[in-house]
């Protein structure tokens, strides 16, 4: 093995280890790894634009601007209060409604912002009901990861897959949408069967809860009524444009950046205030990862692995099963973003031997739903567990693992079955 190949593998593995352990910020770990790759010229300077996936980076950036501007209006708190009121003090309704709202919002906006804004309200209601908040928190995490799988913009792995494959927003909705719908029903059914007995309150308690939640004024959560309206209109417009982006011949990133420009122009919010709130570390994290994975492509390692896989896999169906399960289990251990970044060039290389379109769905399914496997598998998990810990609620690694793995195996199993039905063996 060549020196450059060994170095590319070492940088890749060390960066992965640093990302898992996070003693060093993941963005710093990815940037340091990328610096070594560029410094040693494993990826030559002129090839950096080829590996730096600007489609993903600009789409994330545009959506971050839209979400951060909308957040200033109190839109998410408004949604949280309305959902709480709709539940009418019933624990089962709280679990189901919050899961549905989380899944829908996660399908169109980023998962971290969604859970960051809905979890405090969920904890508040669980405290009012004097119930164990863990089932509510777990359902929120699972719903966020499952819901995010439904659309092109729902989860970073889908954004990366779309950018690499050219699949459209409607392609994702038509293929992943039905799978997500079935998985959501199954996931909620499982949570009901497992936790349902404990989710009961006495009628007089329920009355008190309804009164307390009824006293919350969702209109008071709206900090800026004009910005609220403009945010809702812009988000709806952006979602509409995503539906027709392929007909317009526009990349999804262009839609997101256009939406960002519209909301900034229309709302007259100070741009420096919003641009400061862009999650720059996340964008640099992506940038660094693309270069590190680019080194594996550049040295031919990805081609060798792809060749090995092709020689052992005989049909597209077999490849789908392999990729979906590998992505799911690996995503449960490693963050799904670096995993997807690594598997994308591998699938592209496999394109020489088979139809790879079904494989993109298998990767999306595994990478997104694999996020439910462990407490550290996806950012939404970390955020919800982190908030819970700050509120004195502990969810142990094993407690999460038991439920997470069960949800992972069932939802991925169902998803793979549906993909085989859609695309055949």
């Amino acid at each position: 093995m060549l020196y450059t190949e060994l170095l590319a593998i070492a940088v890749f593995l060390i960066t992965y280890a640093l990302i898992i352990d996070e003693r060093i910020h993941r963005a710093v770990a990815a940037m340091a790894g990328a610096a070594v790759i560029v410094f040693t010229q494993i990826v030559p300077w002129e090839k950096i634009p080829e590996y730096l996936d600007l489609g993903t980076i600009f789409l994330l950036m545009g959506m971050m601007i839209i979400v951060n501007t909308a957040r200033k209006s109190g839109l998410f708190e408004y949604i949280a209060i309305r959902t709480a009121k709709l539940a009418n003090g019933s624990p089962i309704k709280v679990l189901i409604l919050f899961s549905i709202v989380t899944a829908v919002v996660s399908a169109f906006l980023d998962n971290v912002t969604t859970v960051l804004l809905l979890t405090p309200m969920l904890l508040y209601i669980a405290k009012l009901m004097k119930l164990n908040p863990v089932p509510f928190l777990l359902s929120e995490i699972f719903a966020s990861n499952v819901g995010g799988a439904a659309t092109l913009i729902g989860d970073p792995p889908n954004i990366m897959i779309a950018s690499a494959s050219g699949l459209t927003f409607n392609d994702f909705l038509m293929t992943m949408g039905p799978i997500v719908l079935v998985d959501m029903v199954i996931m909620l059914g499982m949570l009901y069967l497992i936790y349902g007995k404990g989710l009961r309150v006495r009628p007089e308690e329920q009355q008190k809860i309804v009164q307390t939640i009824g006293a919350l004024d969702e209109r008071a959560a709206i900090l800026d009524r004009s910005l609220f309206t403009k945010s809702v209109v812009t988000i709806l417009l952006v979602v509409f444009l995503f539906f027709i982006h392929s007909s317009l011949g526009l990349e999804p990133a262009i839609i997101a950046l256009t939406g960002a420009a519209i909301i900034l122009l229309w709302s007259r919010v100070q741009p420096d205030e919003i641009l400061e709130r862009i999650e720059w570390p996340a964008l640099f994290f992506f940038g660094g990862l693309f270069i590190i994975v680019g080194a594996l492509v550049e040295t031919g390692l990805i081609s060798q692995i792809a060749g090995f896989v092709i020689s052992h896999v005989h049909t597209t169906g077999e490849a789908m099963i392999l990729i979906a399960w590998f992505a799911a289990i690996a995503s449960a251990i490693v963050d799904n973003i670096p995993l997807t970044a690594t598997l994308i060039p591998l699938i592209q290389d496999m394109g020489m031997a088979m139809d790879i379109k079904p494989l993109w769905w298998a990767l999306s399914l595994g990478a997104c739903l694999g996020g439910n496997g462990t407490a550290i598998a996806a950012s939404a998990n970390v955020v919800v567990i982190g908030i819970a810990e700050r509120e004195g609620i502990s969810i142990s690694f094993m407690e999460f693992l038991k439920m997470g793995m069960l949800i992972l195996f069932v939802t991925v199993g169902v998803g793979v079955g549906m993909l085989l039905l859609f695309f055949g063996w």
Binding site: D21, E22, R23, H25, R26, A27, G74, E77, V112, T113, L116, L117, P120, M121, Y124, K127, L128, T212, A215, L216, D217, A220, A221, L223, E279, P281, A375, I376, S379, V382, V383, I385, G386, I387, E389, R390, S396, F397
Partner: protein, 181 residues
């Protein structure tokens, strides 16, 4: 702290950053705290009155009537210090006239307030005496669960002071829930 907990904290810090603190600050604007949600058990309410309290708003009776079974102690105080000053500077007949007028006013407001409170379904005990408007009330408040005091108590209001200094001091020093009307 176990490895898992510290790992989650590290990852949380990197992913959520300071956004969580901002979100919690926004939520605190409209979500009641656990302490705020608790309705204190109120069996006795102290309601100080004096010459400056000209009327009690009807909304206060509605509020107090929600404390079912609570007894209201109406206390009308004539400032002893004022009486001493009057005694030092005026003749005996004028002093007697002053006292009579103050007591008549006291009796009238006690009678009216007692009737209004009883109509709201609250049992009432009332008394009138001369003393210190702050110290005596602070002392009597110890044996009550709630104080309802006018912002005009013990002083007429000015543009500068929207709440009388005595009411403000009661709110700051007495360790009982207080309604300022």
């Amino acid at each position: 702290m176990g490895y898992f907990t510290s790992l989650i904290q590290r990852k949380f810090k990197d992913v959520a950053g300071t956004r969580y603190d901002t979100v919690m600050k926004e939520y605190r604007e409209f979500l009641l705290t656990e302490e705020e949600r608790k309705v204190p058990e109120v069996r006795s309410i102290l309601m100080p009155l004096d010459y400056f309290v000209k009327e009690v708003p009807s909304v206060l009776y509605d509020t107090l009537s929600s404390y079912e079974g609570a007894t209201v102690s109406l206390v009308y105080i004539i400032d002893l210090e004022v009486i001493r000053i009057v005694e030092d500077s005026l003749n005996a007949d004028t002093v007697a006239e002053f006292k009579r007028k103050r007591e008549a006013y006291g009796e009238e407001i006690l009678r009216k307030t007692t009737a209004d409170l009883e109509r709201a379904g609250l049992p009432v005990k009332s008394r009138m005496f001369s003393g210190s408007k702050f110290e005596n009330i602070a002392e009597v408040a110890e044996s009550h669960d709630l104080i309802a005091v006018s912002k005009k108590y013990a002083a007429s209001l000015t543009e500068v002071a929207a709440v009388s200094p005595v009411t403000l001091r009661l709110a700051q020093t007495v360790a009982k829930p207080i309604i300022i009307y």
